[in-house]
């Protein structure tokens, strides 16, 4: 009998190690997919909406990013002229967003232990209102005014819910303006007046110039409705434009989407703390300084011309939304730093190698939530021009376009145009 063979005790596999590795890999693949979706927006200006839409469709999306993906694809479809596809995607996104506005326990747990991207994308207040606006516009361009009206009413209900005292949280002037236009086209003058008035109030509160198109609408409808005192106030504020024009005149109402809204970036801070013997990291979203100013278009008719003016500074709205949620983002980040630090310390006590592995896991999983509706225009502008009686085309010129564009119009009708600097195409519907 030989000496007894002593088998070494089976190495205790630490499920934590495997779990940590899997967790890091899973989260990294998610953040890479989110990053790729964000990068696509950067190429929109050069590649055009159709190509970006195709590339977006090839990217894998997590269930929690589905509403964001639908918002991206919906808007790209609108810019590609696929209004029905746009409506389908954005309606689905709207329902998804409505279902995730309550605070989630599991997602908050994920946000304070791993990172904020584990939350289901819920959109910002501004994005949620703009979602209704884009839908309403898609319906207008399809000639479905009553469906556009529904979106405007929903946007109104949402803006009333989001309003907090005198603060302008979730208050979007361009949505109010589009509401006024929809009611005007339906001949509902009282509601049109209310919407235009609210659009002007938002712009005044922001200290922003009221576009001439909105000034004209306020003057014209207040006169039409016999609101003499209010009409006199507008004449005093905007100048005397003479007698209001007959509503039956032909007109071009041009909505211009200029540029692309800034996209969120990640600011990552990683510091080795000798006292803790670990590297502590913190990732936060931020908007870089604005690069470009708004570019404008000119709509030229035979007897008149008008320049587009900013109705909504979408870029500023996005920054305002981020500012409003900064406190919550910082609070979650702080909680995350503490949670991750405690986890690393516990692992270090158990085994220094596991401690290093855990520290690496906490570093790799620290990712800022940079998801946003980053294919929105940078600004939404408006111009209205009265057509001569037999005029059947207008010319559109501007820095955002490759050259002068001739757009056919129907004389004696209301021609609603959407022009985008991204697609460099014009979409229209005649009422």
């Amino acid at each position: 009998m030989g000496p007894p063979v002593i088998h070494p005790p089976p190495r205790r596999r630490r499920p934590e190690r495997c779990a940590a590795l899997l967790l890091v890999l899973a989260l990294q693949s998610c953040s890479v997919s989110q990053q790729q979706a964000n990068d696509l927006a950067d190429g929109l200006q050069n590649a055009g909406p159709e190509q970006v839409l195709g590339a977006l469709g090839k990217l894998k999306a997590q269930q929690r990013d589905r509403s964001q993906r639908l918002m991206l694809s919906g808007l790209l479809k609108l810019l590609s002229g696929d209004f029905e596809g746009c409506i389908l995607d954005l309606e689905t996104a709207k329902q998804l967003l409505a279902g995730v506005q309550a605070i989630s326990i599991s997602e908050t747990l994920g946000a304070v232990t791993i990172n904020e991207t584990l939350r289901v994308y819920a959109g910002t207040p501004g994005e949620r209102v703009l979602l209704h606006e884009v839908l309403a516009l898609a319906f207008v361009l399809q000639g479905q005014l009553e469906d556009a009206r529904v979106e405007i009413l929903q946007a109104d209900a949402l803006m009333r819910t989001l309003a907090r005292g005198d603060a302008l949280d979730g208050q979007v002037a361009s949505t109010r303006y589009l509401g006024g236009l929809v009611f005007e086209l339906l001949g509902e003058w009282s509601d049109a007046m209310i919407s235009y008035r609210k659009a002007a109030e938002i712009l005044q509160q922001r200290g922003q110039h009221i576009p001439v198109a909105l000034q004209d609408s306020l003057l014209e409808i207040s006169a039409r409705m016999g609101l003499d005192a209010e009409h006199a106030d507008y004449r005093a504020a905007f100048g005397d434009r003479g007698a209001p024009l007959a509503y039956s005149r032909g007109e071009v109402i041009a909505l211009y989407w200029d540029g692309i809204v800034s996209r969120l970036r990640q600011s990552l801070l990683a510091v080795y703390v000798p006292e803790l013997q670990q590297t502590v990291s913190l990732a936060l979203p931020y908007y870089p300084a604005r690069q470009a100013n708004a570019r404008h278009l000119t709509i030229r008719c035979a007897t008149a011309q008008a320049g587009t003016q900013v109705l909504e500074d979408v870029d500023a709205l996005a920054r305002q939304d981020l500012k409003a949620r900064e406190a919550a983002i910082y609070a979650a980040a702080l909680a995350r730093v503490v949670a991750k630090s405690q986890a690393v310390r516990a692992a270090q006590r158990d085994n220094p190698y596991v401690g290093i592995l855990t520290n690496m896991a906490t570093l790799f999983t620290e990712v800022a939530d940079t998801r946003s509706w980053n294919v929105l225009p940078s600004s939404i502008q408006v111009a209205r021009v009265t057509l001569a009686p037999d005029e059947d085309a207008v010319t559109v010129v501007g820095a955002g376009l490759p050259g002068a564009m001739t757009v056919p119009v129907v004389p004696g009708s209301k021609n609603v145009l959407l022009i985008s600097s991204v697609s460099q195409r014009t979409f229209s519907h005649v009422f």
Binding site: L23, A26, A98, I105, L118, V150, A339, A346
Partner: protein, 196 residues
């Protein structure tokens, strides 16, 4: 570390739930979002048509003309906050009217065009004995029109939705409104502040 991982994994796992599908009776009332649904459409149509059929305009017409009135459903405008499929509501009303057996029902203008096209086609292609002649359509005596309105009052997670459906039966001979029906629905919706 174990605790951190447990929390993290739990958070990841709880983030998504599997889709579950259950077949239910179409008559069963299921309110999910609080929006106008199939039950609202069916109940409002049935109740309003029952009301319309119990009013004097029907018996007055039958007594004077010695026949059942022919009714056509015109437009029902959706002026509400929701994308209501007005066609299902109109279909519910048509079904309730036809099934009552007390009125004749004529096809709406959009359907008539298709039927006229078919008659034209019959003129060319059908056997003589089976052709249907043009100019034999039954004209409607009354038109039913209406609109769906809503008032939404919302604050934070609470919402009251008030629906008002107004229907009018108009005598096509002289534009008299012979019946005005109204049905109101009020829903209180409280959304949860917290979800799992």
């Amino acid at each position: 570390m174990g605790r951190w991982l447990s929390f993290s994994c739990m958070a990841l796992l709880l983030g998504g739930c599997a889709t579950q599908i259950t077949r239910i009776d179409p008559q069963e009332t299921v309110d999910i979002s609080g929006a106008w649904n199939d039950t609202d459409s069916r109940l409002v149509a049935e109740e309003m048509i029952a009301d319309a059929l119990s009013r004097p305009w029907l018996s007055d017409f039958a007594r004077q003309q010695r026949q059942r009135p022919a009714v056509i459903v015109g437009s029902v405008r959706n002026l509400s906050h929701e994308h209501i499929n007005v066609n299902t509501f109109i279909a519910d009303m048509e079904r309730a009217l036809v099934n009552s057996g007390r009125v004749d029902f004529v096809a709406a203008s959009s359907s008539r065009e298709e039927i006229r096209e078919e008659r034209k086609d019959q003129d060319l292609n059908a056997r003589e004995g089976t052709r249907k002649a043009a100019g034999q359509e039954q004209g409607a005596d009354f038109m039913l029109q209406g609109q769906i309105n809503t008032i939404v009052d919302a604050q934070a997670k609470e919402q009251v939705r008030y629906y008002q459906v107004d229907l009018t039966m108009v005598d096509l001979a002289d534009n008299r409104k012979v019946w005005l029906g109204q049905k109101k629905i009020k829903k209180y919706i409280k959304n949860s502040k917290v979800r799992w």
